[in-house]
Amino acid sequence: MSQPKVLILRAPGINCERETFDAFERAGASCEHLHVKKLVADPTQLEKFDILSVPGGFAYGDDIAAGRVLANELRQRAGDQLLQFIDRGGLALGICNGFQVLVRLGLLPRASTDGKTLEQEVTLSHNLSDHYECRWVTMKTLPNRCVFLDEGLTIQCPAAHGEGYLQPKTPEFGRMLRDEGFATFVYVDEGGDATTTYPENPNGSPLGLAGLTDVTGRVLGLMPHPDRAYRPFHMPAWRRSGLPANADGMMVFERMVREARGA
């Protein structure tokens, strides 16, 4: 397959669709915007695509809880097709609000379910600061089951959210997520260690959790925004250290496109 096809989901309040589209295209994919209204009218359209991307924003105003209304809509009206999409080899990326949607939908992490139904297992709740916060963070990848992410990668990109505290149903479940490779990204401190300390960890998330993959390793969700760190001048320190050839966030898009191409 030469050019993987990416569905960039649109919905009322999703607002990062243009840059997510641009980043995937720069990584070599062919993208299409699709409004959720049109998707749920005919969810079999998913079959046309290799990658599903749920961009960041404030879907339906984040009313009730962040991503809740869109997650409910997708689960109720396209849930089966979404499961089939992943299980037949499709990839999915949820950034920020998109991550919140995938988690509430139950597509992430699918670590304790039978794999056939969608059920929420973790939640993303209010930052410990109780307000929205926009700042650059550094993350690294843990040993993980995500099919396109190696261990030990470091990536800097902006976090910009008010509800990013990743709460597992129990602390044991949280440790399991880390130990079984469901936890992909963690916020790290200057020494490169996972941290729960503000501001390196902007929301106080336990174990420093910033991103998750699912049981298949083909779904990735993360709070920070690689879609705001894909042009070299996006990086905050280039005036000190020189303009990088590639901005950090490109890595996520390139790896997904490469994986989809190989599939």
Binding site: G61, E121, D130, H131, P168, R239
Partner: protein
């Protein structure tokens, strides 16, 4: 109406940040609390819903299965009032955005779409006196304009439906009234018109042989309001022996016309000023104020201010895509004692928290980055805080022109119309007073950014498909202004019964002038109407045909077949009688302070850095999304730890281009207390310095003027405005920067009963520069130890109005003035040196002077520096404190690598500048004068001083190290 009540709480063993925030707010309001506060969210669901559905909906949608629990009360079941529990319930008629989403989720879940409502609740503690709790909650957790506070347990049900509308056109008797009665009518009907204007209306209707209808009178009042017509600045001003005919035209517009810059595309005629960007696109910019609504309801006022200025940009030409926002606030000092806050005013801390949250919760969901801002503090903003909001858009070059044609449909796209925001335009043209809060509640507007986002997406798609002949926004005056303006020179008929309403009961005149937010009006050729409505449906936003334009010269309003208005558009737009005002100017009586010489210059610098006008605004900046849209090339906070202040924002607004925009502003209300001319000059000089310091091009820069002034019926105030305008225009002319847009907000006074508090008159200058490549821009943070530091420009004995003297409790008289001719040379030479890549960091010298600028550069780079004050170019033998803290204009600090020193000298040839020191890795800042070290302070102390003052939640300073 009975309803299910579902209350959702965070599990008791988990943190509840919303409860913590409520506790913080209640404590600040004076309540002593022993236990933690726990919050809950309440949902009201129509009684038609079955119990199984309610339970299923609660567990799958309303409550989070991981971290929340829910309790359910059946319709009719009495809730218990738990002692120490308080609930905040929206008043009937107030927009409830969450309720709409609840209804959508019900339908998605295959359940019936019943009525829904929401509220919030807090368990504060059963040991609190109920009266004290109610009072504290009313100020800290609710706003009584839009919410009720109750201790009586869960509400019984949903608010009832509105009553039947009054559909009578209501003739208003005006022809037989005398002057006193006319004045009384203007006042009681909140028309904000003068007797002379009322008489003109009277004559018009005498000629017409009938009385006006209520809709007609309201339309005229909206159209003729100071807010819409700018009567003071466009009228006649008697200034001493001189008669100024239209100050805006004779000064501001004259500068633009005479400069005749080729990058100006559309100025003063549209909702925003438009300048060229590249071969395909233009950029447009608008800055607005939303002061009065923010004084009454800071959160809603600031949020809808943001929403309004976004719509201004969206309504420019055939629609521009909004790419960046700005916000500047002026409030009273946050440490003001509660007893010093006049009755009817909110404490400045509550205002600042409210307006920040308002900008955050509107701008972020819109997906428009808030990239630049400022905050100024002065006691006299206590009754009238200022909220400036700006927006920049990108518009294709061939979409700038617009004109509705006869036969075009009038289509409204966006939100529904309610009673919110009635009389906003006329309200903002009046003085605030102690009871404004209660009498003007209708003028408060409630924002819904997601609806605006949907309207934006639909309008931009319609633009790209070429479906519109004209576009404008609904702002002040609602449909009456939007349709009335579009119909000028043409004519229109509007069917008011077609307007979608939030709830029943609105009279036709209310529909017509409501300032409900999130509505755009487009003129659509009939053959495109179906496609426009189809796009609206796809974008999940309402599109409604309201009527059509026609070549009649009349504006006809109907509700069904009943005519509610039939107005002559020529009278509406040109019938306003000439406005005439007296002005005179007497220089203020101010004197230089008689102060002992500074004894501790290091501590003085720390005091300056900690002054709120200088201190870090990180607590605010971090709450705004400044990265969305992936155009951010110059962040608001810069340096090693991303906490040094930037001078300007740099964005690349197009995803396929590295061409950029540099965006900055200048404002200094304090100088106005000494000399309004100095205030105005310094505002534009500061805006331009910021552009240049960041790497902008002073020869491709447009500026905007936004006036906020007191009551201009006072000749001295108006005289100050005239003097300030002329000073501003002289500098703009010399700097070759055309004004492309502007706005004035007058009557910023608060009547506190025994005294009137007027704001210091001030002009915000916003500057926007277009640059070929964002990669040529630089930042303020020091980069490398060993680099040389130079100061460009002349330092003068100008401590009047300075932050330094403020920290010593003085105002002074020697306020900085701008020498425009040499200022222009400095701007151009500095820009040239930066463009040649010889300068690695640059910071303009503003509040706090040279010492504050050097400290900020050190903070950003976490590097020390050593400065010899004796080497600074000065116009006299100045003292160390004058050299450190003078706020003389047209100055920069630059950092230059040793091998670029000659390049810089060549570029700055002929301009006053000198090498004054070096960047080092000492972790200290040292200032020498006359061979002696006058200040030697630790960088860590500077960081702390700079960061702690405005760290309202105490999180930013801890993160310092």
């Amino acid at each position: 109406m009975d309803a299910w009540r579902v209350e959702v709480r965070v599990r008791e063993d988990l943190p509840d940040p919303a409860g913590d925030a409520a506790r913080h707010a209640l404590t600040a309001a004076g309540l002593e609390l022993s236990a933690p506060v726990r919050s809950h969210r309440g949902y009201l669901l129509g009684a038609d819903l079955g119990e199984d559905d309610v339970r299923r909906f609660t567990s799958s949608v309303l409550a989070d299965p991981i971290c929340e629990t829910a309790t359910i009360l059946a319709p009719g079941e009495a809730g218990t009032a738990t002692p120490g529990e308080v609930r905040v319930v929206p008043r009937p008629g107030v927009t409830d955005n969450v309720a709409h989403s609840v209804q959508k989720a019900l339908v998605d879940s295959g359940m019936p779409e019943v009525m829904a409502g929401t509220y919030r609740g807090f368990r504060v503690g059963d040991d609190i006196d109920p009266g004290a709790l109610r009072n504290a909650a009313a100020t800290a957790l609710a706003n009584d304009v839009i919410q009720d506070v109750t201790l009586d347990g869960p509400p019984a049900g949903l608010p009832g439906a509105g009553g039947a509308p009054d559909l009578d056109p209501h003739e208003i008797v005006i022809r037989s009234l005398d002057d006193a009665a006319l004045e009384e009518l203007s006042k009681t009907a909140c028309l904000a018109l003068t007797v002379r204007e009322m008489r003109t209306i009277q004559t018009h209707y005498e000629e017409a042989g009938r009385e006006p209808t209520q809709s007609e009178l309201e339309t005229i009042a909206q159209t003729w309001s100071e807010h819409c017509k700018h009567k003071t600045l466009t009228g006649k001003i008697r200034f001493g022996d001189e008669i100024i005919d239209n100050l805006l035209k004779s000064e501001i517009a004259r500068v633009t016309n005479e400069l005749d810059r080729d990058f100006c595309v559309s100025v003063f005629v549209d909702n925003a000023g438009v300048i060229t960007f590249d071969d395909e696109d233009c950029v447009c910019i608008k800055v607005e104020t939303h002061n009065h609504p923010s004084a009454i309801e800071p959160f809603g006022g600031a949020g809808t201010g943001v929403g309004g200025v976004i719509r201004d940009v969206l309504g420019t030409g055939l629609a521009a895509r909004p790419v960046a926002s700005t916000d500047i606030f002026c409030v009273a000092p946050l440490d003001m004692k509660h007893e010093d806050v006049p009755e009817g005013c909110m404490h400045p801390q509550r205002i600042l928290r409210g307006v920040v949250a308002g900008v955050r919760d509107y701008g972020n969901p819109m997906g428009i980055p808030t990239v630049h801002g400022a905050v100024h503090f002065d006691e006299d903003f206590v009754g009238n805080p200022l909220v400036y909001v700006g927006n920049v858009g990108v518009i294709p070059r061939n979409k700038v022109a617009k004109k509705p044609n006869p036969g075009d449909a009038i289509v409204s796209i966006g939100g529904r119309t309610g009673r919110d925001g009635i009389h906003g335009a006329t309200f903002s043209s009046l003085e605030l007073h102690t009871e404004s809060e209660s009498v003007s509640s209708g003028a408060v507007q409630i924002g819904d950014p997601i609806t605006e986002r949907k309207a934006m997406d639909a309008v931009l798609r319609g633009r790209d498909e070429g479906l519109f002949s004209a576009v404008t926004d609904c702002g002040a005056g609602g449909y009456s202004s939007a349709v009335g303006e579009m119909a000028e020179g043409l004519g229109a008929t509007v069917q008011l019964e077609t307007v979608p309403l939030k709830y029943e009961g609105l009279a036709p005149w209310e529909i017509w002038i409501s300032e409900a937010q999130e509505r755009m009006v487009v003129a659509v050729p009939q053959e495109h109407v179906a496609r426009v409505l189809e796009i609206c449906d796809e974008e999940d936003v309402e599109g409604t045909v309201l009527g059509h334009f026609e070549d009649t010269g009349r504006l006809v309003l109907k509700y069904g077949d009943v005519v509610h208005g039939d107005m002559d558009l020529a009278f509406l737009h040109d019938g306003l009688p000439e406005f005439e005002r007296e002005a005179h100017f007497v220089a203020k009586s101010v004197a230089e302070p008689n102060l002992p010489a500074e004894t501790d210059h290091g501590q003085a610098l720390l005091n300056v850095l900690a002054d709120p006008n200088v201190a870090s605004k990180e607590w605010i900046v971090r709450q705004y999304d400044h990265e969305v849209q992936a155009g951010s090339a110059g962040k608001p906070l810069v340096g090693v730890r991303n906490d040094g202040p930037a001078d300007a924002a740099v964005i690349a607004p197009k995803l396929n281009s590295e061409r950029g925009i540099v965006l900055s502003s200048g404002l200094n209300p304090r100088y106005s207390r000494i000399d309004p001319a100095a205030m105005a000059e310094c505002a534009i000089d500061e805006a331009m310095r910021n552009i240049v310091a960041a790497g902008g091009d002073p020869e491709h820069t447009a500026v905007l003027d936004n006036y906020c002034w007191g009551n201009c019926a006072d000749p001295q105030r108006l005289g100050e405005l005239v003097v300030a305008t002329r000073a501003l225009c002289h500098v703009a002319e010399t700097y070759r920067t055309p004004f492309v847009s502007g706005k004035d907000s007058l009557n910023n006074e608060f009547n506190a009963g025994d005294r009137t508090i007027s704001i210091p008159g001030c002009i915000l200058v916003t500057a926007m520069s277009v640059i070929p490549d964002v990669k040529r821009t630089i930042t303020t943070d020091f980069k490398t130890a060993g680099n040389k530091i130079a100061v460009i420009g002349v330092t003068k004995r100008e401590l009047g109005g300075s932050v330094y003297w403020k920290t010593r409790g003085e105002l002074g008289a020697c306020v900085p003035r701008v020498d425009a001719e040499s200022g222009k040379e400095i701007l151009d030479s500095t820009a040239r040196a930066i463009a040649s890549h010889a300068i690695v960091s640059c910071h303009d010298l503003s509040e706090g002077g040279l010492a504050a600028a050097a400290a900020e550069m050190s903070i950003g780079g976490r590097l020390g520096c050593k400065v010899d004050l004796g080497a600074v170019v000065a116009d006299d033998a100045l003292s160390a404190e004058e050299l450190m803290f003078s706020e003389s204009q047209s100055r920069f600090l630059i950092e230059v690598p040793p091998d670029k020193v000659e390049d810089v000298e060549a570029n700055l040839f002929g301009v006053a500048f000198s090498w004054i020191g070096e960047v080092d890795d000492s972790n200290t800042l040292t200032f020498d004068h006359g061979g002696q070290t006058v200040a030697d302070i630790r960088l860590a102390d500077c960081v702390h001083a700079f960061k702690h003052t405005l760290d309202l939640d105490g999180t930013m300073t801890e993160a310092t190290r």
